[in-house]
Amino acid sequence: MTTATDVNQPTAQPAAPGGRRMSLPVLLLVIAGALALTSIVRIITGADGITNVSQMSTALELAVPIGLAGLGGLWAERSGVVNIGLEGMMILGTWFGAWAGYQWGPWTGVVIGVIGGAVGGLLHAIITVTFNVNHIVSGVAINILALGITRYLSPLAFVGVQGGSAKQSPPVESLGQFTVPGLSDWLTTLNNKGWFFVSDIAGLLGGLVTDVSWLTLIAIALIPGTWWILWRTSFGLRLRSCGENPVASESLGVNVYKYKYIAVIISGGLAGLGGVFLSLVANPFYLEGQTAGRGYIGLAAMIFGNWMPGGLALGAGLFGYTDSLNLRGGSENVHALLLLGAILLAIGAIWLAVKKKYVSAAVTLVIGVLVFLWYANTNEVPTQIVSATPYVITLLVLSLSAQRLRMPKADGLPYRKGQGK
């Protein structure tokens, strides 16, 4: 997908040799196919948990913070600033969200948490845009600093308050959640029938309408929202042009510094929102170390999704789903998914053989057979392997498609005003 990653320009250029464009119908077909396979596996193995309504709803809850961090990364990188400080900005979001939340109500917490993250973003912008420091170095420094600040402030703010300690904030009121009446019950019933395909779809949709927090809804809306702003408005075009070729956009009168600042501040705000989600929705309190590296995972989800909102959502969903398998005691479910992996590998081998790549096909087939043997000879998978799965998958996807991924051209490069003269 070298040339056709930009949804905007379907007819701009013919696809480069070897590059294929995944159109929406094809994508939907692939997803439907994956679901159908999952369904077959579920029926063969009897592991009903893998497409259960509650499983899906947990997966969604775990995917949201990763997705928000990824969106933050997307905004920054589209403007040409690599943001590895997402983790730190999320930490700021968790802390400030809970701190304001327990005092002035959860919605104030959301606002303050977002502002906390945005301040982290502002700092990153000052260091990288104004002072032109290496973006990754600045991000690492922000991660250290954010950890220090929150650890320093926690004892000052939370000790002595009912339910608070040096590492944990007092409980925060819930933001409230909603279940679509009728629809949710109907989908759950359908899910419990165990029918081929239909029940799995019902499980997936049921997860989207059962006990959903308002913040989840906002987060989901932010994905098409981001796409619309970045790819359908002149503001977004200018912002992206700063990430592709800042010298050219400068020559057209775009204030590159301003756009980079805006993008990185929004990026911090989104990461902060992801943090707020952790400390207000996923848990009703702030806890030290709550983010557990989700900022980095968000970044990975964004790269996995080829710097596009849709792909990012898919990546976040994948991470969330594997996490949820782990959380819901799913060594049996994961064991069932081994069979799915084996089938997918076999399909991949056939596809490669059709494309006359016999060596790769053979290797893939051998791996597939090994996975199948693993499935056939064991009854469960250690949870440690499950928790490593999303990272291994990301590495695999990256190694298979890194050449086809296309990041913004000037991503991470230093830029000075007047450089092009």
């Binding site: 590895i84 700092l123 260091i127 002072f131 032109n132 420091v133 290496n134 990754i136 170095v137 600045s138 690492v140 420094a141 922000i142 991660n143 250290i144 600093l145 954010a146 950890l147 220090g148 600040i149 650890r151 320093y152 004892p155 000052l156 590296g293 980095y296 995972i297 970044l299 990975a300 790269i303 250690p382 440690q384 392997i385 928790s387 490593a388 990272y391 291994v392 990301t394 590495l395 990256l398 190694s399 298979l400 890194a402 050449q403 230093p414």
Partner: protein
């Protein structure tokens, strides 16, 4: 003709000094803002540094930081960002602990065996990222982040009782290592023991300097960092350099946990220090990738770590040290970059002036480009 350039020295010293002053000032503002004395914490911490038992702790801790920072610095010298030092040293320490607990050779063989295990594990883990970068074009930053996360899972798996783990109460350990793998420390009487492998850290620092500054390989490495295309034009294979640098960085990272493992804990447990790889990034930056600079930086870091707990007894929070570390890193990178740009501008002006005066260019080739200091 290398004449002593006063300006160059000034520029080199200005960066860290400005950074430290700014960081201290900002930390004092934080202290003031939380209604505390902005000076007393420093006096307490300086006082701590005069006690011999704290000094031993500082030196021990600094040896871990030093090795980790060297590993990061090797990558920096050729524009590679090995964020994976964290996973590499933890996994390497774990493997060394496992080997040490299951193999019993005489000390002459056991210690080298453990070190080779650690080096190989670290190099292997970093090598995955290196191979992916060279053959598939995967960014080493993302790959090493993923590998860090995977290393955590691998360690958790190896800790399972039916793999290599030994449960001690609530703690996961790998069982105690055989005595032949223990490395005696330098006894400092009441003050405690300095890890024997502090020597290793010093040797690594010397080796790092020799390899980078006095060998063909080191020159190629620095050249690739300064300009990949120029290095390629002079006959350096960039792919091979990336892979070698990554393996070397990972191998050294693998050693980072050994001073404490062989000198003190003798098992890899939940209490084993984590996050040293990330701190190493900040330390390498502060030390400007030079072996002496990194030594000072790791001592500074270790001092902040080991002197700060005392603050808790005086009504301050020891976390102020973490804030200070973060501020130092930020101040350091910003001031280095500003000083570098200022120096460049000055140099350009001077060259311009000389050219205008009709002089031949010369004597001004002090473009000491700091690769990762930006």
């Amino acid at each position: 003709m290398k004449k002593f350039d006063k300006e160059r020295v000034l520029l080199a010293v200005a960066g860290p000094v400005i950074a430290l002053v700014v960081a201290v000032a900002l930390t004092s503002i934080v202290l003031l803002a939380s209604g505390k004395s902005p000076i007393e914490p420093y006096t307490i911490m300086f006082q701590q540094a005069t006690y011999s038992d704290i000094q031993v702790l500082i030196i021990n801790q600094a040896s871990l930081y030093y090795i980790a920072a060297l590993a990061v610095a090797i990558g920096f010298r050729m524009n590679l960002f090995n964020i994976g030092v964290d996973g590499q040293y933890q996994l390497a320490a774990m493997m060394a602990a496992v080997v040490g607990a299951h193999v019993a050779l005489p000390a002459v063989l056991q210690v080298p065996l453990l070190m080779i295990t650690a080096i190989c594990t670290g190099a292997f883990w970093a090598g995955i990222a290196g191979v992916l970068k060279v053959t598939r074009g995967v960014s080493e930053v993302v790959a090493t982040i993923m590998l860090n996360a995977i290393a955590t899972s691998v360690i958790a798996y190896l800790w399972l009782p039916d793999v290599f783990g030994v449960k001690l109460g609530n703690n996961n350990t790998t069982g105690e290592m055989h005595k032949s793998g223990w490395i005696p420390g330098f006894n400092m009487g009441d003050a405690g023991e300095i890890y024997g492998l502090v020597i290793l850290a010093v040797l690594l620092g010397i080796g790092y300097w020799i390899v980078l500054n006095r060998t063909r390989f080191g020159f190629d490495l620095r050249a690739s960092g300064a300009s990949e295309s120029a290095a390629a034009a002079s006959g350096v294979d960039p792919k091979r350099m990336v892979l070698t640098a990554m393996l070397l960085s990972g191998g050294i990272a693998g050693l980072a946990g050994l001073p404490i493992l062989l000198g003190d804990t003798h098992t890899y447990s939940l209490n084993f220090p984590t996050g040293i790889g990330f701190l190493g990034i900040g330390i390498a930056l502060l030390g400007r990738n030079s072996p002496v600079g990194i030594a000072f930086a790791s001592l500074l870091w270790a001092w902040l770590d080991k002197a700060s707990p005392e603050l808790d007894f005086h009504g301050y929070d020891k976390e102020i040290a973490v804030i200070m570390q973060g501020l130092i890193v930020i101040a350091v990178v910003v001031s280095y970059e500003s000083v570098r740009e200022w120096g460049l501008r000055r140099q350009q002006r001077r060259v311009g002036a000389e050219l205008a005066a009709g002089n031949v260019l010369g004597g001004t080739d002090n473009t000491d480009k700091e690769v990762a200091g930006r």
